[in-house]
């Protein structure tokens, strides 16, 4: 099947996998932290943070992409700072596609992890505290192992969402073959040119295969982890 892919199609698939992988991996620690804050802390601005996290889910993706362009473009306040200080450029690079995918997938990731954290009995965490564990150790030795199925589910959900992200990506980093042309934007591009249907169809099959694999993997991992921590 892979021999059947043209180099352009192959590049789009690989780029999408790379973008989704890094988007998921790098946003995961922040996702766990934000989910924990939302689940366990009551503070002024709680609703504001919650709204901010969920915004990309509600806003039209084009708007999110445009806001990213304004903020993280080379002339944007954050983008300019990052380029001058770290030489890190997002605009029209694959890193920008990863940022867009991460932002768009973040609400789904946080929701899944937050549900898992809310299911953990805070009394277990109190017990760990009386046994000498500091807040950080309580999290590492009690909370995290118990929410692992939720974290895995959140990560896989985020990965699948990143694979499919279209609107924000194309707005923020455009659709440059080999640079920012991911699987969905490639499908879109192939459908715009005469005779591109065959290419699009092959990519669609790959998209379906990746999505199914992700779902089955999440089921499998989730069940294995749940069995381990159920205490049986």
């Amino acid at each position: 099947m892979f021999e059947a892919l043209s180099p352009a199609e192959w590049r789009a698939v690989m780029l999408s996998l790379r973008v989704s992988f890094w988007a998921t991996l790098l946003s995961l620690p922040l996702g766990v932290y934000v989910a924990w804050v939302l689940a366990r802390k009551r503070f002024w601005g709680h609703s504001l943070l919650n709204g901010l996290v969920h915004l990309p889910l509600i806003l039209p993706p084009v708007v999110t992409g445009y806001l990213l362009l304004l903020g993280f473009g080379r002339r944007g306040p954050i983008g300019g700072f990052l380029e001058q200080t770290f030489g890190l450029v997002f605009a029209f690079r694959w890193t920008g596609a990863a940022l867009a995918a991460a932002v768009m997938a973040f609400p789904l990731m946080v929701r899944a992890i937050r549900l898992a954290i809310e299911a953990v009995d805070p009394k277990l965490e109190q017990a760990a505290g009386t046994l000498g564990a500091s807040r950080l150790w309580v999290f590492a030795t009690v909370t995290l192992p118990l929410i692992l199925p939720g974290v895995v589910a959140g990560a896989i959900l985020a990965f699948a969402k990143a694979m499919g992200e279209f609107g924000a990506t194309i707005t923020f980093v455009s659709n440059i073959p080999g640079q920012t042309q991911t699987l969905p934007t490639a499908i879109y591009a192939f459908l715009q040119v005469p005779g591109g249907e065959a290419s699009a169809a092959r990519l669609v099959l790959i998209a379906i295969a990746v999505a199914m694999t992700a779902l089955i993997a999440s089921e499998f991992v989730g069940r294995a982890v749940a069995r381990r921590i159920s205490g049986q």
């Binding site: 277990l124 009386t130 046994l131 000498g132 309580v138 030795t141 192992p145 921590i229 159920s230």
Partner: protein, 361 residues
């Protein structure tokens, strides 16, 4: 080591104002639910920060709101046995037991084997909490708290969620804890039987206030406290020494009030025990009774007579150095002409000294 506790905290609807000192041994916090028992030990553990309070264990200040010193729970070294066990479901029994030990910086050591042996949980070490019975879970929870080598052990109704058989399974282990370790224990309970069996000192709580803190024998034989315990449970604790095993299957126990005969008790002569004598199992007579099947008759003098609102009366007696409570009717009290100082005889129905109430003391 002595634990000194002062907790003042306002909840909507109830104010907690409790001050007491807990000497070594088991100090029971006794009272109805809602009387503030759990609030007090949560303040000791650091799970609740009271409006005003001071908690000192030995010479370590755990909490002093006046001086702005509030140690977080994980730095207090306070072992806490919760009502529901709260074992970590993702860890094995062995890992649960070692959890606090690791944070206390204790690697290995002989303490582990000793505690496992004392609680009889050796066969459970490889299991997970989900596969344990309620009684087993509580024993592991006690072991886990104990193995963190705490300054104080807090137990919040550790037996309340268990049925009678499981309670009977755990009580001896708590007694061994009291007798074999130096750790002071704060024990929250609303069960008079548990308190009578385990406690050295009792802090009586009513509506958020510590009514009194007394050695357990004094409290149990106090007619006022008797009411707090509930009349059915009112009674005295009698310290005795095993004196002699008779050929007919009876055991003689000596107390300062006189000798007592009980169906055989498996203990060596010289062993110290405490007997619980329920007030309702004591009959009074003004003359030395004769031709009576009861074996245990103690000469006594009336120390206090409380007439209740109903037909009952609670009589506190001096017998030797001890105090005994008797629950009789008001009519009997009048017929017998009982008054403070009156000499009489306390007849203990032999069945009254139930084996379940015999605890090492």
């Amino acid at each position: 080591m002595t634990l000194s506790v002062s907790v003042h905290h306002r909840f909507p609807g109830i104010g907690i104002e409790v001050d007491f000192d807990a000497p070594p041994g088991v100090t029971a916090l006794f009272g109805r639910s809602g009387s503030g028992k759990t609030t007090v030990i949560n303040a000791v553990a650091g799970l609740l920060r009271p409006d005003r309070g001071r908690v000192v264990a030995g010479d370590t200040v755990l909490l002093d709101t006046g001086a702005g010193r509030v140690l977080p729970p994980h730095r207090r070294r306070v072992g806490y046995v919760f009502q529901e066990g709260r074992l970590f479901p993702h860890l094995t029994v062995r890992q649960n037991l070692l959890y606090g030990r690791w944070f206390a910086g204790l690697r290995g050591g002989d303490g582990f084997g000793r505690v496992v042996e004392m609680l009889g949980i050796g066969p459970l070490l490889a299991r997970r909490p989900g596969a344990l019975s309620g009684g087993e879970k509580q024993r592991v929870a006690i072991g886990r708290a104990l193995l963190s080598e705490p300054r104080i052990l807090l137990m919040d109704e550790p037996l309340a969620a268990l049925d009678e058989d499981r309670k009977a399974e755990i009580l001896p282990y708590v007694e061994r804890l009291r007798d074999e370790t130096e750790v002071p224990i704060l024990y929250v309970s609303h069960s008079p039987a548990e308190v009578a069996r385990l406690a050295t000192t009792v802090v009586l709580l009513e509506a958020g206030r510590a009514v009194r803190a007394l050695p357990v024998a004094e409290l149990l034989s106090d007619p006022d406290a008797g009411r707090a315990f509930g009349l059915r449970e009112a009674g005295a604790l009698l310290p005795v020494v095993v004196a002699e095993q008779a050929a007919d299957g009876l055991t003689r126990l000596d107390s300062s009030a006189g000798p007592l005969w009980l169906p055989r008790i498996e203990a060596a002569p010289g062993a110290r025990l405490r007997l619980r004598i329920h007030a309702q199992d004591v009959i009074l007579s003004r003359t030395r009774p004769e031709g009576l099947s009861a074996l245990n008759i103690l000469p006594a003098a009336v120390a206090d007579l409380r007439l209740g609102d109903g037909p009952g009366a609670l009589v506190q007696l001096h017998a030797g150095d001890e105090r005994i409570l008797a629950r009789i009717t008001r009519r009997s009290a009048e017929t017998l002409g009982l008054a403070e100082g009156a000499e009489c005889f306390a007849i203990l129905k032999s069945v009254a000294v139930a084996k379940g109430d015999i605890g090492a003391g």
